[in-house]
Symmetry: C2
Subunit: 206 residues, 2 copies
């Protein structure tokens, strides 16, 4: 299976890029669907799961990947279960077919699938502009507050990513292509990214 993972700075348009790239390639696209699938497995509230995975709750809980390393009774920790549900769901997705997966540490969890890993970022002005346009943040936020909010989300994403990965969020060596979307209309660059991704995969499948 061909898996493309998209990690992104908040406000960089990474989600749009991932969605359009999936459409262009005819790949399945996963984003919120991952949360819903975990909710089904766990019977937890989707809003709680999203918060835990994306917004930094996880790092407040003990995490373990193997009971042999545990030094306290973490078996019942909801966060540990969440990590394992998250992995299960991502592996199921990866086994179903070619897909683009945005966020959720899929780049790290699906490492063995040899995914093509894209990191999307932009300068602060562009990110603020995009947030204002999409109106996905409180419109009453001042520029300074919005900047703080963007940085806070990114710190949480980085910290949750780094719990699961052997490299840091946004670290050069961990990813295959870094796309700076400052001043760019996402849809204009997607066909080139499609071609790049196809050629990238074909380098490892001959």
């Amino acid at each position: 299976m061909k898996i493309i993972t998209v990690n992104r700075e908040f406000g960089s348009g990474g989600r749009e890029l991932g969605k359009r790239l999936a459409e262009e390639l005819g790949f399945a696209y996963y984003d919120k669907e991952i949360i819903d699938a975990i909710a089904e497995k766990s019977k937890l509230d989707p809003a709680y799961i999203e918060k835990a995975i994306e917004d930094g709750v996880l790092r407040n809980y003990p995490i373990t990947f193997s009971h042999t390393f545990s030094y306290m009774p973490i078996i019942d920790s909801p966060a540990t279960d969440l990590v394992s549900w998250q992995s299960d769901v991502l592996r199921e997705i990866a086994s179903k077919g070619d897909s683009v997966i945005v966020g959720r540490a899929a780049d790290a969890i699906l490492e063995d699938e040899h995914p093509f890993k894209i990191f999307v970022y932009a300068d602060m002005d562009s990110k603020m502009k995009r947030c204002r346009e999409r109106a996905d943040t409180d419109e009453k936020l001042s520029d300074k507050e919005l900047q703080r909010y963007i940085k806070k989300i990114d710190r949480a994403r980085a910290s949750n990513h780094d719990l699961m990965a052997s490299y840091r969020w946004g670290e050069r060596e961990g990813f295959h292509l870094f796309v700076n979307t400052s001043g760019i209309e996402i849809k204009t660059i997607v066909p080139a990214l499609k071609e790049y991704a196809e050629k990238w995969f074909s380098n490892f499948r001959n």
Copy 2:
């Protein structure tokens, strides 16, 4: 004019990528030609100039960009002149037509031209493999020595770049596209990069 600058880790294939991209786009390609042009202006030895610009001699000299800030007699410093010759040559190149320029801090010196800035990198194994294949390093070097050599060149490139730029060599915010060439045959990805570059420019020229 459309300017594409390519910064690259030693052994990542950035030079080949730049050259092929220029061919594909029909842009002029500049690399060693820059050294020759500076040699002509300065009457200095090309080998000395290349060493000074690429291999880290510059940082051992006082550098100034404006005499109003100088506190010592640097007017006769060969390194200061070299910086100014380097800028002159790069500006002349940029005024002549669309071009791809590899290295030489062109990304920083030509900032006002709003260049499309690519950073090319790879993991250490790929870089060592590429160096061995190109035989552009001493074949008698052990793996450890070759790694040390690669890292040394990159440190010098970073240090010379950072003298001229407002951002660090390889820093996310300073560049527009980061291309990881690990395991990739460069020529396979060049058409996609061509299309990406064209679309990137068209976003700023409407």
